[in-house]
Protein backbone atom coordinates (compact mmCIF):
# COMPACT_ATOMS: atom_id res chain seq x y z
CA UNK A 1 0.00 0.00 0.00
CA UNK A 2 1.26 3.51 -0.72
CA UNK A 3 2.60 5.59 2.17
CA UNK A 4 1.25 9.03 2.99
CA UNK A 5 3.61 11.25 5.01
CA UNK A 6 1.89 13.82 7.18
CA UNK A 7 3.11 17.07 8.71
CA UNK A 8 2.78 17.78 12.45
CA UNK A 9 -0.45 19.79 12.24
CA UNK A 10 -2.30 16.75 10.88
CA UNK A 11 -0.71 13.98 12.92
CA UNK A 12 -3.16 14.33 15.80
CA UNK A 13 -5.88 12.97 13.50
CA UNK A 14 -3.99 9.74 12.82
CA UNK A 15 -3.05 8.92 16.43
CA UNK A 16 0.23 10.84 16.20
CA UNK A 17 1.68 8.79 13.33
CA UNK A 18 4.21 10.42 11.00
CA UNK A 19 3.04 8.35 8.06
CA UNK A 20 0.15 6.07 7.32
CA UNK A 21 -0.31 3.29 4.77
CA UNK A 22 -3.49 3.73 2.80
CA UNK A 23 -4.93 1.83 -0.10
CA UNK A 24 -5.31 3.24 -3.59
CA UNK A 25 -3.92 3.13 -7.10
CA UNK A 26 -4.11 6.86 -7.70
CA UNK A 27 -3.45 9.85 -5.48
CA UNK A 28 -7.19 10.58 -5.39
CA UNK A 29 -7.97 7.04 -4.23
CA UNK A 30 -5.29 7.21 -1.54
CA UNK A 31 -6.71 10.48 -0.22
CA UNK A 32 -10.22 9.06 -0.26
CA UNK A 33 -9.06 6.00 1.70
CA UNK A 34 -7.32 8.28 4.18
CA UNK A 35 -10.42 10.28 5.07
CA UNK A 36 -12.55 7.12 5.14
CA UNK A 37 -10.11 5.62 7.64
CA UNK A 38 -9.70 8.90 9.60
CA UNK A 39 -12.94 10.88 9.11
CA UNK A 40 -11.95 13.77 11.44
CA UNK A 41 -9.35 14.72 8.83
CA UNK A 42 -11.98 15.26 6.15
CA UNK A 43 -12.72 18.98 6.80
CA UNK A 44 -8.97 19.75 6.80
CA UNK A 45 -8.41 18.32 3.34
CA UNK A 46 -11.71 18.65 1.50
CA UNK A 47 -14.14 21.52 1.20
CA UNK A 48 -17.90 21.16 1.55
CA UNK A 49 -18.21 20.39 -2.17
CA UNK A 50 -15.92 17.40 -1.73
CA UNK A 51 -13.00 19.01 -3.57
CA UNK A 52 -9.45 18.91 -2.26
CA UNK A 53 -8.71 22.29 -0.67
CA UNK A 54 -6.37 24.45 -2.80
CA UNK A 55 -3.82 24.91 0.01
CA UNK A 56 -3.31 21.14 0.31
CA UNK A 57 -0.18 20.30 -1.68
CA UNK A 58 0.64 16.70 -2.48
CA UNK A 59 4.02 15.63 -3.81
CA UNK A 60 5.32 12.36 -5.17
CA UNK A 61 9.05 12.42 -4.77
CA UNK A 62 9.95 16.06 -5.31
CA UNK A 63 7.16 16.73 -7.80
CA UNK A 64 3.81 18.36 -7.12
CA UNK A 65 0.93 16.21 -8.38
CA UNK A 66 -0.36 19.38 -10.10
CA UNK A 67 2.64 19.00 -12.42
CA UNK A 68 1.79 15.31 -12.98
CA UNK A 69 -1.80 14.14 -13.52
CA UNK A 70 -3.33 15.72 -10.43
CA UNK A 71 -5.48 13.37 -8.37
CA UNK A 72 -5.39 10.86 -11.25
CA UNK A 73 -1.62 10.44 -10.85
CA UNK A 74 -0.92 6.69 -10.45
CA UNK A 75 0.82 5.59 -7.25
CA UNK A 76 3.00 2.50 -6.93
CA UNK A 77 2.33 0.26 -3.91
CA UNK A 78 5.53 1.29 -2.07
CA UNK A 79 5.54 4.90 -3.19
CA UNK A 80 5.40 7.79 -0.72
CA UNK A 81 3.08 10.76 -1.08
CA UNK A 82 4.12 13.86 0.83
CA UNK A 83 1.46 16.23 2.15
CA UNK A 84 2.75 19.77 2.55
CA UNK A 85 0.66 22.03 4.72
CA UNK A 86 0.17 25.73 4.66
CA UNK A 87 1.72 27.01 7.88
CA UNK A 88 2.21 30.61 8.90
CA UNK A 89 4.01 30.68 12.25
CA UNK A 90 7.01 32.89 12.72
Amino acid sequence: MPILRLPTPLRSYVNGQTEVRVDGQTVGEVMHSLVTQFPTMQPHLYNQRGELRPFVNLFIGATNIRDLQGLDTPVEPEETILLIPSIAGG
Binding site: T40, F55, A62, G90
Partner: protein, 383 residues
Amino acid sequence: MLPSLTHEEILRYSRHLLIPEVGIEGQQKLKAASVLVIGTGGLGSPVLLYLAAAGVGHIGLVDYDKVEASNLQRQIIHGTDRLEALKVDSARSRMLELNPYVQVDTYNEPFTSSNAMQIAADYDVIVDGTDNFATRYLSNDLCVLLGKPNVYGSVYRFDGQASVFDARHGPCYRCLFPEPPPPYLVPSCAEGGVFGVLPGVIGTIQATEAIKLILGIGSPLIGRLLLYDALNMSFEYVKLKKNPKCKVCGEQPEVTGLIDYFEFCGVPGIGHEQDTVEGKEITAVELAKRLKSGQPLYLLDVREPHELAISSLPGAVNLPLGQLAGRMSELDPAREIVIFCKSGIRSARALEILLSAGFRNVRHLQGGINAWARTIDPKMPIY
Protein backbone atom coordinates in the same frame (compact mmCIF):
# COMPACT_ATOMS: atom_id res chain seq x y z
CA MET B 1 30.35 52.37 -6.96
CA LEU B 2 30.59 50.09 -3.92
CA PRO B 3 31.36 51.71 -0.54
CA SER B 4 34.87 51.19 0.83
CA LEU B 5 35.58 49.35 4.07
CA THR B 6 37.27 51.04 7.03
CA HIS B 7 40.17 49.34 8.82
CA GLU B 8 37.80 48.48 11.67
CA GLU B 9 35.41 46.85 9.23
CA ILE B 10 38.21 44.90 7.53
CA LEU B 11 39.24 43.50 10.90
CA ARG B 12 35.64 42.75 11.93
CA TYR B 13 34.78 40.94 8.70
CA SER B 14 38.16 39.25 8.20
CA ARG B 15 36.69 35.72 8.29
CA HIS B 16 34.42 36.71 5.40
CA LEU B 17 37.24 38.38 3.50
CA LEU B 18 39.21 35.14 3.65
CA ILE B 19 36.49 33.29 1.71
CA PRO B 20 37.09 33.71 -2.03
CA GLU B 21 33.32 33.75 -2.72
CA VAL B 22 32.96 36.81 -0.47
CA GLY B 23 36.27 38.71 -0.34
CA ILE B 24 36.53 42.49 -0.16
CA GLU B 25 34.09 43.03 -3.01
CA GLY B 26 31.45 40.74 -1.48
CA GLN B 27 31.75 42.49 1.84
CA GLN B 28 31.35 45.82 0.07
CA LYS B 29 28.20 44.46 -1.60
CA LEU B 30 26.87 43.55 1.84
CA LYS B 31 27.65 47.03 3.10
CA ALA B 32 25.83 48.57 0.15
CA ALA B 33 22.80 46.26 0.51
CA SER B 34 19.49 46.86 2.22
CA VAL B 35 17.18 44.20 3.65
CA LEU B 36 13.71 44.64 5.13
CA VAL B 37 12.73 42.07 7.74
CA ILE B 38 9.01 41.81 8.43
CA GLY B 39 8.52 40.61 11.99
CA THR B 40 11.01 40.58 14.85
CA GLY B 41 9.81 37.34 16.43
CA GLY B 42 11.07 33.78 16.28
CA LEU B 43 12.23 33.94 12.66
CA GLY B 44 13.17 37.62 12.74
CA SER B 45 15.50 37.12 15.72
CA PRO B 46 18.18 35.00 14.01
CA VAL B 47 17.64 36.76 10.67
CA LEU B 48 18.34 40.19 12.19
CA LEU B 49 21.25 39.04 14.33
CA TYR B 50 23.01 37.35 11.40
CA LEU B 51 22.32 40.13 8.91
CA ALA B 52 23.72 42.66 11.37
CA ALA B 53 26.71 40.45 12.19
CA ALA B 54 27.40 39.90 8.48
CA GLY B 55 27.56 43.63 7.89
CA VAL B 56 24.46 44.20 5.76
CA GLY B 57 24.68 47.98 5.60
CA HIS B 58 21.04 48.93 5.92
CA ILE B 59 18.50 46.79 7.74
CA GLY B 60 14.85 47.70 8.22
CA LEU B 61 12.55 46.04 10.71
CA VAL B 62 8.78 46.14 10.96
CA ASP B 63 6.79 45.06 14.00
CA TYR B 64 4.20 46.63 16.27
CA ASP B 65 4.31 44.33 19.28
CA LYS B 66 5.95 44.61 22.66
CA VAL B 67 8.27 41.99 24.13
CA GLU B 68 6.33 39.49 26.27
CA ALA B 69 7.61 36.78 28.60
CA SER B 70 6.13 34.04 26.38
CA ASN B 71 8.28 35.29 23.45
CA LEU B 72 11.61 34.59 25.12
CA GLN B 73 11.57 30.79 24.66
CA ARG B 74 12.52 31.41 21.01
CA GLN B 75 12.84 35.13 20.21
CA ILE B 76 16.49 35.31 21.19
CA ILE B 77 17.12 38.86 20.00
CA HIS B 78 15.08 40.11 22.99
CA GLY B 79 15.82 39.59 26.67
CA THR B 80 14.22 39.54 30.09
CA ASP B 81 15.45 43.09 30.73
CA ARG B 82 13.47 44.26 27.68
CA LEU B 83 10.04 42.95 28.70
CA GLU B 84 7.32 45.43 27.70
CA ALA B 85 9.75 47.31 25.40
CA LEU B 86 8.81 47.80 21.76
CA LYS B 87 10.13 44.85 19.81
CA VAL B 88 11.65 47.06 17.13
CA ASP B 89 13.56 49.07 19.77
CA SER B 90 14.67 45.96 21.61
CA ALA B 91 15.88 44.33 18.37
CA ARG B 92 17.60 47.47 17.14
CA SER B 93 19.56 47.98 20.33
CA ARG B 94 20.74 44.33 20.34
CA MET B 95 21.77 44.57 16.67
CA LEU B 96 23.78 47.72 17.27
CA GLU B 97 25.45 46.12 20.29
CA LEU B 98 26.50 43.34 17.95
CA ASN B 99 27.56 45.60 15.11
CA PRO B 100 27.58 49.40 15.37
CA TYR B 101 28.70 49.66 11.72
CA VAL B 102 25.24 48.94 10.30
CA GLN B 103 22.24 51.24 9.94
CA VAL B 104 19.02 49.94 11.48
CA ASP B 105 15.72 51.62 10.65
CA THR B 106 12.60 50.68 12.56
CA TYR B 107 8.91 50.79 11.63
CA ASN B 108 6.81 50.42 14.77
CA GLU B 109 3.54 49.86 12.94
CA PRO B 110 1.45 47.05 11.49
CA PHE B 111 2.61 46.12 7.97
CA THR B 112 -0.50 46.65 5.86
CA SER B 113 -1.59 47.35 2.28
CA SER B 114 -1.55 51.07 3.03
CA ASN B 115 2.10 51.38 4.12
CA ALA B 116 3.82 48.27 2.69
CA MET B 117 4.77 49.72 -0.71
CA GLN B 118 6.23 52.86 0.81
CA ILE B 119 8.22 50.97 3.46
CA ALA B 120 9.53 48.26 1.11
CA ALA B 121 10.36 50.46 -1.88
CA ASP B 122 13.92 51.28 -0.81
CA TYR B 123 15.02 47.78 0.13
CA ASP B 124 16.77 45.23 -2.11
CA VAL B 125 15.57 42.05 -0.38
CA ILE B 126 12.47 41.35 1.73
CA VAL B 127 12.55 38.68 4.45
CA ASP B 128 9.18 37.29 5.50
CA GLY B 129 9.33 36.52 9.20
CA THR B 130 5.68 37.16 9.97
CA ASP B 131 3.35 34.95 11.96
CA ASN B 132 0.11 35.13 10.00
CA PHE B 133 -1.28 34.33 6.57
CA ALA B 134 -2.56 37.85 5.85
CA THR B 135 0.92 39.40 6.10
CA ARG B 136 2.48 36.49 4.18
CA TYR B 137 0.19 37.07 1.20
CA LEU B 138 0.83 40.80 1.51
CA SER B 139 4.63 40.26 1.50
CA ASN B 140 4.34 37.95 -1.48
CA ASP B 141 2.18 40.21 -3.60
CA LEU B 142 4.27 43.22 -2.68
CA CYS B 143 7.47 41.48 -3.80
CA VAL B 144 5.88 40.32 -7.07
CA LEU B 145 4.59 43.82 -7.81
CA LEU B 146 7.87 45.53 -6.88
CA GLY B 147 10.07 42.85 -8.51
CA LYS B 148 11.96 41.97 -5.32
CA PRO B 149 12.97 38.60 -3.85
CA ASN B 150 10.89 37.37 -0.91
CA VAL B 151 12.92 35.19 1.44
CA TYR B 152 10.27 32.98 2.97
CA GLY B 153 10.31 31.01 6.21
CA SER B 154 7.49 29.55 8.23
CA VAL B 155 7.21 27.35 11.32
CA TYR B 156 4.64 25.41 13.27
CA ARG B 157 5.36 23.09 16.19
CA PHE B 158 8.20 20.91 14.76
CA ASP B 159 7.75 21.70 11.05
CA GLY B 160 9.64 24.37 9.18
CA GLN B 161 9.56 25.59 5.58
CA ALA B 162 11.90 27.89 3.68
CA SER B 163 12.13 29.11 0.11
CA VAL B 164 13.03 32.12 -1.98
CA PHE B 165 10.07 33.39 -3.94
CA ASP B 166 11.21 35.58 -6.79
CA ALA B 167 8.57 35.84 -9.50
CA ARG B 168 11.14 37.24 -11.95
CA HIS B 169 13.00 33.92 -11.90
CA GLY B 170 10.55 31.34 -10.49
CA PRO B 171 7.31 30.74 -8.61
CA CYS B 172 5.79 32.96 -5.94
CA TYR B 173 4.11 31.97 -2.69
CA ARG B 174 0.69 32.04 -4.36
CA CYS B 175 1.87 29.57 -7.02
CA LEU B 176 2.22 27.04 -4.20
CA PHE B 177 -0.61 28.22 -1.96
CA PRO B 178 -3.21 29.93 -4.19
CA GLU B 179 -5.53 30.46 -1.22
CA PRO B 180 -5.05 30.55 2.54
CA PRO B 181 -6.69 27.91 4.72
CA PRO B 182 -9.80 28.95 6.64
CA PRO B 183 -8.61 30.41 9.97
CA TYR B 184 -10.25 27.75 12.11
CA LEU B 185 -8.30 24.94 10.42
CA VAL B 186 -4.79 26.18 11.11
CA PRO B 187 -3.87 27.36 14.59
CA SER B 188 -1.15 29.98 15.00
CA CYS B 189 1.97 29.38 17.12
CA ALA B 190 0.29 31.40 19.91
CA GLU B 191 -2.45 28.79 19.97
CA GLY B 192 -0.71 25.63 18.75
CA GLY B 193 2.80 26.23 20.09
CA VAL B 194 6.22 26.09 18.46
CA PHE B 195 9.39 24.20 19.32
CA GLY B 196 11.70 27.00 20.49
CA VAL B 197 14.80 26.21 18.44
CA LEU B 198 12.83 25.57 15.24
CA PRO B 199 12.62 29.24 14.12
CA GLY B 200 16.33 29.45 14.96
CA VAL B 201 17.06 26.89 12.24
CA ILE B 202 14.62 28.28 9.67
CA GLY B 203 15.50 31.93 10.40
CA THR B 204 19.19 31.15 10.01
CA ILE B 205 18.43 29.55 6.63
CA GLN B 206 16.54 32.72 5.63
CA ALA B 207 19.54 34.85 6.64
CA THR B 208 21.81 32.54 4.61
CA GLU B 209 19.62 32.94 1.54
CA ALA B 210 19.37 36.73 1.91
CA ILE B 211 23.15 37.04 2.19
CA LYS B 212 23.68 34.69 -0.80
CA LEU B 213 21.26 36.77 -2.88
CA ILE B 214 23.19 39.94 -2.05
CA LEU B 215 26.51 38.32 -2.86
CA GLY B 216 25.15 36.57 -5.95
CA ILE B 217 26.75 33.27 -4.95
CA GLY B 218 25.60 29.65 -4.81
CA SER B 219 22.17 28.28 -5.66
CA PRO B 220 19.32 30.11 -4.00
CA LEU B 221 16.15 28.31 -2.91
CA ILE B 222 14.29 29.71 -5.93
CA GLY B 223 11.98 27.00 -7.29
CA ARG B 224 12.62 24.76 -4.29
CA LEU B 225 10.84 24.45 -0.96
CA LEU B 226 12.91 23.22 1.96
CA LEU B 227 11.00 21.15 4.48
CA TYR B 228 12.52 20.64 7.90
CA ASP B 229 11.12 18.18 10.41
CA ALA B 230 12.85 18.83 13.73
CA LEU B 231 11.28 15.81 15.40
CA ASN B 232 12.75 13.37 12.88
CA MET B 233 15.72 15.64 12.04
CA SER B 234 15.06 15.45 8.34
CA PHE B 235 15.59 18.00 5.59
CA GLU B 236 13.83 17.52 2.28
CA TYR B 237 13.31 19.56 -0.85
CA VAL B 238 10.43 19.62 -3.25
CA LYS B 239 10.41 21.34 -6.63
CA LEU B 240 8.17 24.35 -7.13
CA LYS B 241 7.04 25.50 -10.53
CA LYS B 242 5.57 28.77 -11.59
CA ASN B 243 1.81 28.47 -11.98
CA PRO B 244 0.80 30.08 -15.30
CA LYS B 245 -2.65 30.66 -13.76
CA CYS B 246 -1.25 32.35 -10.63
CA LYS B 247 -3.44 35.33 -9.77
CA VAL B 248 -0.50 37.60 -9.05
CA CYS B 249 2.48 36.38 -11.11
CA GLY B 250 0.71 34.31 -13.79
CA GLU B 251 0.19 35.08 -17.43
CA GLN B 252 -3.03 37.02 -16.82
CA PRO B 253 -2.75 38.37 -13.29
CA GLU B 254 -5.92 39.45 -11.51
CA VAL B 255 -4.10 41.00 -8.57
CA THR B 256 -2.37 44.10 -9.90
CA GLY B 257 -2.28 46.08 -6.65
CA LEU B 258 -2.33 45.30 -2.96
CA ILE B 259 -5.69 44.07 -1.65
CA ASP B 260 -7.35 43.72 1.76
CA TYR B 261 -5.43 40.70 3.06
CA PHE B 262 -7.42 40.34 6.25
CA GLU B 263 -10.57 39.93 4.21
CA PHE B 264 -8.75 37.58 1.78
CA CYS B 265 -7.68 35.38 4.71
CA GLY B 266 -11.06 35.60 6.44
CA VAL B 267 -9.65 37.04 9.62
CA PRO B 268 -10.48 40.22 11.54
CA GLY B 269 -8.07 43.12 11.06
CA ILE B 270 -5.47 44.18 13.59
CA GLY B 271 -7.15 45.37 16.78
CA HIS B 272 -10.46 43.81 15.75
CA GLU B 273 -9.86 40.31 17.02
CA GLN B 274 -13.30 39.94 18.60
CA ASP B 275 -15.51 41.82 16.12
CA THR B 276 -16.96 38.79 14.37
CA VAL B 277 -18.28 37.33 17.59
CA GLU B 278 -19.32 40.59 19.22
CA GLY B 279 -22.12 40.17 21.72
CA LYS B 280 -21.40 36.46 22.06
CA GLU B 281 -18.79 36.82 24.77
CA ILE B 282 -18.89 36.17 28.46
CA THR B 283 -16.32 37.61 30.87
CA ALA B 284 -14.64 35.46 33.50
CA VAL B 285 -16.52 37.35 36.24
CA GLU B 286 -19.88 36.75 34.51
CA LEU B 287 -19.02 33.08 33.99
CA ALA B 288 -18.10 32.64 37.65
CA LYS B 289 -21.49 34.13 38.67
CA ARG B 290 -23.28 32.01 36.10
CA LEU B 291 -21.65 28.80 37.38
CA LYS B 292 -22.44 29.75 40.98
CA SER B 293 -26.14 30.09 40.13
CA GLY B 294 -26.29 26.31 39.70
CA GLN B 295 -28.22 26.45 36.38
CA PRO B 296 -26.91 23.77 33.96
CA LEU B 297 -24.25 24.98 31.57
CA TYR B 298 -22.13 23.04 29.06
CA LEU B 299 -18.50 24.15 29.32
CA LEU B 300 -16.59 23.32 26.15
CA ASP B 301 -12.79 23.43 26.29
CA VAL B 302 -11.41 23.61 22.72
CA ARG B 303 -7.73 23.45 23.70
CA GLU B 304 -5.46 20.51 22.89
CA PRO B 305 -5.63 17.67 25.48
CA HIS B 306 -2.07 18.26 26.76
CA GLU B 307 -2.95 21.84 27.73
CA LEU B 308 -5.36 20.54 30.36
CA ALA B 309 -2.36 19.63 32.50
CA ILE B 310 -1.54 23.36 32.77
CA SER B 311 -4.98 24.57 33.79
CA SER B 312 -8.57 23.43 33.59
CA LEU B 313 -12.11 24.27 34.68
CA PRO B 314 -14.06 21.59 36.57
CA GLY B 315 -16.77 19.87 34.56
CA ALA B 316 -15.52 21.15 31.19
CA VAL B 317 -15.61 18.80 28.20
CA ASN B 318 -12.51 18.79 25.99
CA LEU B 319 -12.99 18.85 22.22
CA PRO B 320 -9.98 20.36 20.42
CA LEU B 321 -10.80 23.06 17.87
CA GLY B 322 -9.34 21.05 14.99
CA GLN B 323 -11.81 18.23 15.66
CA LEU B 324 -14.85 20.41 16.27
CA ALA B 325 -16.15 20.46 12.69
CA GLY B 326 -16.01 16.66 12.50
CA ARG B 327 -17.47 15.98 15.97
CA MET B 328 -20.18 18.59 16.20
CA SER B 329 -22.83 15.88 16.47
CA GLU B 330 -21.58 15.23 20.03
CA LEU B 331 -22.96 18.62 21.08
CA ASP B 332 -26.58 19.37 21.90
CA PRO B 333 -27.71 22.63 20.20
CA ALA B 334 -30.51 22.96 22.76
CA ARG B 335 -28.08 23.39 25.65
CA GLU B 336 -26.44 26.61 26.72
CA ILE B 337 -22.76 26.32 25.78
CA VAL B 338 -19.76 28.39 26.87
CA ILE B 339 -16.59 27.72 24.89
CA PHE B 340 -13.13 28.55 26.17
CA CYS B 341 -9.49 28.13 25.18
CA LYS B 342 -6.20 29.64 26.35
CA SER B 343 -6.76 33.29 25.45
CA GLY B 344 -10.00 33.56 23.48
CA ILE B 345 -8.77 33.17 19.90
CA ARG B 346 -9.55 29.50 19.30
CA SER B 347 -12.82 29.79 21.23
CA ALA B 348 -13.85 32.69 18.95
CA ARG B 349 -13.21 30.46 15.94
CA ALA B 350 -15.07 27.59 17.56
CA LEU B 351 -17.95 29.97 18.21
CA GLU B 352 -18.02 30.96 14.53
CA ILE B 353 -18.10 27.28 13.53
CA LEU B 354 -20.98 26.53 15.90
CA LEU B 355 -22.92 29.67 14.95
CA SER B 356 -22.61 28.85 11.27
CA ALA B 357 -23.83 25.32 12.03
CA GLY B 358 -26.99 26.72 13.58
CA PHE B 359 -26.10 26.72 17.28
CA ARG B 360 -27.70 29.75 18.95
CA ASN B 361 -27.29 29.50 22.72
CA VAL B 362 -23.51 29.65 22.65
CA ARG B 363 -20.92 32.14 23.89
CA HIS B 364 -17.17 32.13 24.42
CA LEU B 365 -15.03 33.16 27.36
CA GLN B 366 -13.36 36.50 26.71
CA GLY B 367 -9.60 36.22 27.28
CA GLY B 368 -9.83 32.44 27.74
CA ILE B 369 -8.80 30.46 30.79
CA ASN B 370 -5.92 32.89 31.26
CA ALA B 371 -8.49 35.64 31.98
CA TRP B 372 -10.12 33.28 34.50
CA ALA B 373 -6.71 32.81 36.14
CA ARG B 374 -6.16 36.57 36.23
CA THR B 375 -9.50 37.60 37.68
CA ILE B 376 -11.10 34.61 39.43
CA ASP B 377 -8.46 32.08 40.44
CA PRO B 378 -5.03 33.60 41.23
CA LYS B 379 -3.66 30.14 42.04
CA MET B 380 -4.14 29.06 38.43
CA PRO B 381 -1.06 29.52 36.19
CA ILE B 382 -1.15 31.83 33.16
CA TYR B 383 0.60 30.52 30.06
